[in-house]
Symmetry: D2
Subunit: 305 residues, 4 copies
């Protein structure tokens, strides 16, 4: 398949959606990004990378980092499934956010991709490695081959200034005994991870292990095939906030979105994609990004279904 | 692949789980079924059928019928997506059942596989065809090639005797204007559909169109490929009650379960499976059935991820 | 105290609020009532009655009937507290209506004045008397001395036409085993009770037993003093929908409101009041009626606090 | 009325309940208190005090302090009702705690006596006075005439060690902009207030202004009569956790309970009572304390209804 031609057709189809939606405005550093940006990149399992538009422009990864922190916990735990005693694997399934569900379920978040769940995963990664955010940064540098990847201090600082809701989630879970490290430390690492700046190119290559059934860029094994497939399963059922069902219906690929406007998607055995456009729909997913992935699976027929 | 050998190995692996769990006991006709039953059947996309154990013994399809009624509405609506204005596509995501969610969401059920959503789908099928339950019965006879398929009057009658919760759901949706037909008629057709008795063989063959991207057993088209894929997507995210995330994680196939102990599962482009064992776990899915499908994807590597 | 002068001053103070709010419009017979109506009546414990404005104009009692059905169940049960095993005594405390709470609490309504609770009370009255609605009508005729009181067939019929939500509540409770009589019969009696037409004069006199600590108009005992006080307590904590706290704060009297625009209020040991004005606030209580009662307790100092 | 005799009879009636229930055990300083304690005191509006049993033994006031902080905010705000824009007046009405409701209601607690509401009241008192907890301590010393009243540092420290849930509440409200002071400061003052040690005698006298319609012990005015009545109204509808309806039904007096086992109750125009016994029922109210107050209103007929 001529990936470059496919991406160009996808970009053309997605063009009318660019600028639609609303750019995340809860922190200044995100608000300043232009709504007109659009980029898409595809990394095949052999490491070839294709791209269109703003595919080499860095943006804030935000919640896309949650897929990587889950993978790193599974990798560092060496098959020890203890994380699943502390976080579920079910879609959150309600417009109400996770505090309600945390309460119903005694401090056990529904899944690792809602904020509460991601805090637990970060807490676990911190315990396993001693430095959750640096571990992730190094991993992303190695897999993307981009040594310039860095935390964005302004973004991380802004998050902390607006971090009362995450502090509430963390203290609430702590009240149920579901955090191993001090609340401020867990929140800080979580914010650092979210603040990393990466381009579509960086993310598509860094997420390659999900398409390669667990193999890293250098051919070494990060995860068992079974584990990589399971991360894909969690991405498909929980990766796009409260729109996971809709996303599976329209796109049909495992994916993880972030409020920076990025979405990473996986075609198992074939390739990893990343699309970016900052305008978000009401549920927090990139409008043009979702449209692009919809066109991609329509053109290629490569949904998992 | 030697399907018969695979099924035999799967059955052997699942054997220790047969008899575990709890047989549905809310109506006498279900309660009487022996917990020791186990059968599994596989129909490949060319119509060849393989089976092990009690694969030719009829059981009550119950909620498995919901996958067929959704497909029939999509087929009879000829691409008209109106049903999706009346029912969502998101996982229900809460241990609390659908009345709470109906209230939060103004009478629009979260998805077509929770009871409330299935009542809306049945209501729509009734409007489109004039006789929802007979339409389904005829379709299942043709696809399975088994002209003996029939409603079980005892089961349908028992459901009606214990039908206050479904009546509550239907009246509640009617209060929001989300039913087109009278409540008693909708409930009656719903109960008839659930009461149909089919074997693993019957269900695996009848569900073949989901693996054939919309083509019926005789090669004619029931659904567009896109539509068949979308039903698979809804099955994967919503098909196994509140355990859809867990099921995607462990098994990784689109599936629909019923409290009769049956589970139908789809390997797109390859085959449709049906497994049956009456002992249910706390979320209403067959214990041995889920174990069997887990072994199947482990052996074959054929999860969608 | 010169009750007539007090009522006239109260009416003058409430005048600016008359016409504010929204007349109930879910059934035609209620919608037709003019928003400009205002009446207030006071019956002292010796049977003297005072009134101002439209105090002799009949209106639909609606939920005010719930206070009388609770009293009649307690009277007919002769101190048997079984009703409290089937309905709670706690304020409902959420803008979400009772279906959510019914589900959380396994079919036991929070209190006898939400619709679900009133259906249980009606069901119990039906079991105790064989004819719940006729029992109430006869009681209201006797206590008010108005033999012309009657059901309003148009209102009762309209309620039934729009009765899906109450049917949902009743079937839902039946699914938990919390109804003794068939759902259609309970709903019918409930609608008949709500449809009774009474004036402020009629209601203030009929509710006199609540101010007389259980004694009827003829001096005979309907309820023990302890029981009458307890009905007052339930009225104060639960009698004005989701505004009971606000009502206690502003008015400080036991009260029961209805969507017909009436409110009955009790000054224990002194008098019973009824005020009527059809414009409702967002929580379903008469705007001018609440203002009038607020002025009344300010003028007299007769809140219970 | 011979108050001493009444209290002795009440104490005798309550005796069988002493030791029932469960002593609060979430902090060591509370857990150490013997379950066998029982005291009751009554202060009439003229300042005479009567008592029985352990009525002069200090205990941890805990949530009883919430009634005083509300009164102090109303007193210092001089009729400015702004506090009611930040906290509601409705009973919480659900066994689920306030995080769920905070979320439904955008950071506005249902009432000032649930923890979230009390944090808002403390925050307001801090803004009005510059030192919320010291203001309260001085007030309680003056009204009780007991200059020895003091914070219990061990209790306040233990609360802080187990304070994750309150921290979650405070951060959550801060995320909605509903706190004026820094979270740690609000929580600290809140814990200090709860840690004050007082006897039944101290509390009954300190709460005298609620029975005297706003007049302090020295005859000066703390609150308008209307304001004092309104605090009584909030106590009656919200003062005993999720059992306010039950408490109004059984006892019929405005009351505020604490997990230290104390309950303060008001007979408007007559007297203030305080009862103490550490064994709590499932909803956090003293078992023997509630029984004592029930007997008191039965003996005297002095419920507000």
């Amino acid at each position: 398949m001529d990936y470059q031609a496919v991406l160009e057709e996808v970009a053309a189809c997605a063009r009318p959606y660019v600028g639609q939606g609303r750019v995340a405005d809860y922190i200044p550093a995100l608000e300043r990004v232009s709504a007109d940006r659009f980029g898409i990149a595809l990394a095949d399992i052999n490491g070839a990378v294709y791209g269109v538009g703003d595919w080499q422009v860095p943006f804030s990864v935000q919640s896309i980092s949650k897929a990587f922190s889950l993978a790193l916990v599974m990798a560092h735990a060496h098959g020890d499934d203890d994380i699943w005693k502390r976080v579920g694997r079910e879609p959150s399934g309600t417009p109400f956010n996770s505090l309600v569900q945390l309460e119903w379920e005694n401090g056990i978040p529904r899944n690792p991709f809602i904020n509460a769940g991601a805090l637990v995963v970060t807490d676990r990664l911190q315990s396993l490695t001693g430095d959750a955010s640096t571990t992730m940064l190094h991993f992303l540098r190695e897999e993307s081959g981009n040594e310039d990847l860095a935390f964005d201090q302004a973004v991380a600082g802004s998050e902390a200034d607006h971090g009362d809701r995450n502090a509430a989630l963390a203290h609430f879970m702590a009240s149920f005994g579901n955090l191993e490290n001090p609340v401020p430390s867990v929140i800080e690492h979580y914010f650092w991870q979210c603040s990393i700046e990466m381009s579509c190119r960086d993310l598509a290559t860094a997420g390659g292990f999900l398409a390669r059934h667990g193999l890293r860029a250098d051919g070494s094994r990060l995860l068992e095939a079974r584990e990589a497939k399971r991360i894909n399963a969690v991405m498909l059922t929980c990766g796009t906030y409260d729109a996971a069902g809709e996303f599976a219906y329209r796109v049909g690929l495992p994916a993880k979105s972030g409020v920076g406007g990025g979405i990473i998607a996986v075609v198992p055995g074939r390739c990893t994609l990343c699309v970016w456009s900052p305008g978000l729909d009401a549920r927090g997913n990139s409008v043009a990004g979702a449209a692009a992935l919809d066109h991609f699976t329509t053109l290629t027929g490569w949904s998992v279904f």
